[in-house]
């Protein structure tokens, strides 16, 4: 009987296991799942017949009582569970429900409240558009968090006249308006709504000038290597990009909030260098992207401002994405100078990707009051690979004995230089690809870039991390992080527990 019972159980398990493995109810599963329970029922009947355990009246009474109790309990549990299928009580702790407005949005709300004009902003939310349901909760969050925001839910046909021009030209779910002035919110997420509010708060138009004429990346280029995403990001935060042809340059426009020098490939004319030097000496600002293999006379100007640009590409296996064959020049940067305004909100979790970057060392202050230094760094395992071509082509590279520095290498640096009552500012990225169309939306690249832009435009108040979307982060883990977790917890913890167990065993035997 015992064997038959075991065989029945084994057959059921084999039948179920075969189904789970092959994902189909094969003949093997059907036979096992039919014969197995049959054997168990047969054994149960035989055992019940042979059962002589409760001979006395007392024992039978106890058995009967407990059989009744057990049956009642099982029936009650089944009844409650059956009824419970229709009860909708739940507590939702999903990321969508635990959504809180970003720090940047709260800051914008404060700014609206502190604005001396006292004019409130309106969020016109059109409930007859197809994204209305998704955005309803978000609009309510704005309304409850910001005293100076009125959320108006209305039909497209009920839109006020000042909103009509935008409604006629675009498909709109949300519009941000203030003083009868409206700003378009693209896809209605927190980032875009907050940026529209920031644009409404701007007192005057800000212009950023892109320099052309030395092989720089094109702003209008929409290919993966182009900078059209960068131009769109600037417009989204209220900065209008304009072009400036370098060789025809006579002066930098006075309305330039800052210049963008997107990896010039060819030498500059001496006159151009002189104009740029004069602009910076007069308190100008510039955002500079470099490339590892390009060494032109423009780099000399950066050296005048205290930077050194050693040849080679930064390689660092420790901060490569964790894959079988880590690419040492694809750097997932997670170390920032948190004392600098640009990176004060960045941390180990807000990683940026700098693929194939050169080092930007800050070696000396041109004037005693100047402040220069790195703001984003490699790990201390990095080295500057002198064979740039091999590294960029993905061929295996190893650090030469002299190449290992044992220190964090700055990949992005910033400098501020008080001059003639003004303050010149420079931000230098060692990599142009960082801001290209294919890399800019990666991880927190946009955040770092926009923070740099805001610092250059003296708009420090809006420096932060962009408002999050509802999606959990899509950040990878670096090799260094994972190995740290693995050795600390996956090995150490079980090891300690096992040692305690062995100790308990010996003590018991003793």
């Amino acid at each position: 009987m015992r064997f038959m019972a075991s065989a029945g159980l084994v057959m059921i398990l084999a039948g179920v296991a075969a189904y789970y493995t092959t994902d189909e109810l094969s003949i093997f599963s059907v036979i096992n799942l039919s014969v197995g329970p049959g054997l168990l029922v047969f054994v149960a009947i035989q055992e019940t017949r042979r059962f002589q355990g409760f001979r006395g009246t007392f024992a039978r009474r106890v058995m009967l009582r407990w059989a009744l109790i057990l049956t009642t309990v099982i029936l009650a549990v089944v009844a409650i569970n059956t009824a419970g299928r229709h009860w909708a009580g739940y507590l939702d702790f999903t990321i969508e429900r635990s959504y809180t407005l970003a720090e940047q949005t709260v800051e914008v709300c404060k700014e609206l409240a502190e604005d001396p004009s006292g004019t409130p902003a309106e969020l016109l939310f059109f409930k007859d558009t197809h994204l209305a349901r998704d955005v309803n909760l978000l609009i309510r969050s704005y309304e409850s968090a910001c005293d100076k925001i009125d959320a108006r839910e209305l039909l497209l046909a009920e839109a006020p006249s000042y909103a009509q021009p935008l409604l006629n030209a675009f498909e709109v779910t949300v519009l941000a308006c203030r003083d009868q002035n409206c700003e378009l919110v693209g896809f209605p997420n927190e980032e875009n709504i907050t940026n529209a509010l920031i644009r409404l708060l701007k007192k005057q138009q800000i212009y950023a000038y892109f320099m052309f004429g030395h092989g720089e990346v094109d702003l209008a280029n929409t290919t993966p290597l182009g900078f059209s995403e960068l131009a769109a990001s600037l417009r989204n935060v209220g900065i209008e990009p304009r072009g400036l042809v370098g060789p025809a340059l006579t002066e930098i426009p006075t309305d330039a909030a800052f210049l963008i020098l997107a990896a010039p490939q060819r030498d500059w004319l001496d006159a151009e260098i002189e104009i740029l030097r004069g602009y910076l000496n007069g308190g100008g600002r510039a955002l500079v992207f470099l490339e590892p293999e390009i060494d032109i006379n423009f780099n000399g100007l950066l050296e005048e401002w205290g930077f050194e640009l050693p040849p080679g590409v930064v390689s660092d296996r420790a901060v490569s994405p964790l894959i079988e064959d880590p690419d040492p020049i694809s750097l997932l940067v997670n170390r920032y100078n948190t004392f600098h305004a640009i990176t004060r909100k960045m941390g180990p979790r807000t990683m940026t990707l700098l693929p194939g970057t050169r080092a930007v060392l800050s070696v000396r202050k041109p004037e005693p009051d100047d402040r220069i230094g790195g703001i984003a760094f490699s790990s201390e395992h990095a080295w500057i690979e002198s064979d740039t071509r091999a590294a960029l082509q993905g061929r295996p590279t190893q650090p030469d004995p002299g190449e290992l520095g044992g220190r964090e290498i700055p990949l992005v640096a910033a400098g501020s230089y008080p001059r003639e009552g003004q303050e010149a500012r420079l931000v230098i990225f060692g990599d142009r690809d960082f801001a290209s169309n294919r890399r800019l939306p990666t991880l927190y690249n946009v955040d770092l870039l926009l923070n740099a832009v805001r610092w250059l435009a003296e708009d420090e108040r809006h420096i932060g991390i962009r408002a999050k979307t509802w999606t959990p982060h899509q950040d990878p883990f670096t090799l260094q992080q994972t190995l740290k977790y693995f050795y600390s917890f996956a090995f150490l913890l079980p090891e300690v527990l096992l040692l305690i167990g062995i100790n308990a065993w010996y003590r018991q035997r003793g």
């Binding site: 109810l25 089944v78 409650i80 419970g84 009860w87 635990s98 959990p472 065993w505």
Partner: protein, 265 residues
């Protein structure tokens, strides 16, 4: 009564930790969790890498090309949570198998039955000890999902929801195991039953082809894994709590009946 229960609880706990089995089970659970945690991180990174490499034919993480459903919740946290639930299924019967069966095999249950202790107090103490051990196992392995939560921005409430679900799931499995242990004096039989019953109840999808839509739907609601999935997603549903609570109540009643019948015999 509280003193008696506390004394019984401490006695059961001492018995449990006097043998190396508790440590072996703890170590196994933590090791399995650690290894799978590492494997999931590798798989998650590889997934991100493959998606992005395919999109732009590049050897690094690129942009905006990751579909919205590929994220740390779907591809790291939920698979890890499901693994945890299966590991519970694997290790909890190792603890429950001995609780009643060992006493019966060694004859020490006779002593217990002749004391003035009530049966429900004895059973309650054994259940409480086992549930405490389940909690201990989960606490020891909490570091892995905590790392994921920290990395993915899911929030502490989501992590606590998962652990609440794992605890409910673990207590249901433990209750089934303890009920099996109370019905036999063989630890092996108790263990086989404690593995078999939750395994059969794990997922009834194998029965669905043979059932009508309504019945299949009902069977789906009986599956352990279906009931657990909500917790991993961050939702505590009343009906799932009723399900796991029901399993504990039935298990407790079975153990109590078995003890009362032993007394009667």
């Amino acid at each position: 009564m509280i003193h008696r229960l506390a004394a019984l609880f401490v006695k059961e706990l001492r018995t449990l930790f006097a043998s190396p089995i508790a440590y072996i089970v703890l170590t196994s659970f933590v090791s399995l969790s650690g290894v799978y945690f590492f494997q999931h991180i590798l798989a998650y990174n590889r997934l991100l890498f493959v998606i992005q490499s395919e999109a732009v034919s590049s050897r690094s993480f690129d942009a905006g090309t990751i579909p919205i459903h590929v994220n740390a919740l779907n591809d790291l946290f939920i698979p890890l949570s499901n693994d945890f639930s299966l590991f519970l299924l694997a290790v909890v019967p190792l603890i429950t198998m001995r609780v009643f069966a060992e006493e019966r095999a060694q004859g020490t249950d006779e002593l217990l039955l002749t004391t003035p202790l009530r049966s429900w107090e004895v059973v309650l103490a054994k259940y409480a000890t086992t549930f405490f051990f389940v909690l201990l196992i989960l606490a020891a392995s909490a570091i892995y999902p905590t790392i994921v939560v920290n990395q993915s921005g899911l929030g502490i409430a989501h992590l606590l929801t998962l652990y609440f679900g794992l605890f409910a799931y673990g207590t249901a499995i433990a209750a089934i195991g303890l009920a099996c242990s109370s019905l036999t004096q063989s630890q092996i039989v108790a263990a086989i039953l404690a593995y078999a019953i939750p395994f059969i109840f794990l997922d009834f999808s194998w029965l669905e082809p043979a059932l009508s839509e309504n019945v299949a739907g009902f069977m789906r609601t009986l599956a352990l894994q279906t009931r657990f999935e909500g917790f991993a997603r961050g939702v505590i549903e009343l009906r799932n709590l009723l399900y796991f609570g029901g399993a504990v109540v039935i298990g407790f009643t079975v153990s109590l009946s078995a003890l009362e019948l032993s007394r009667a015999r």
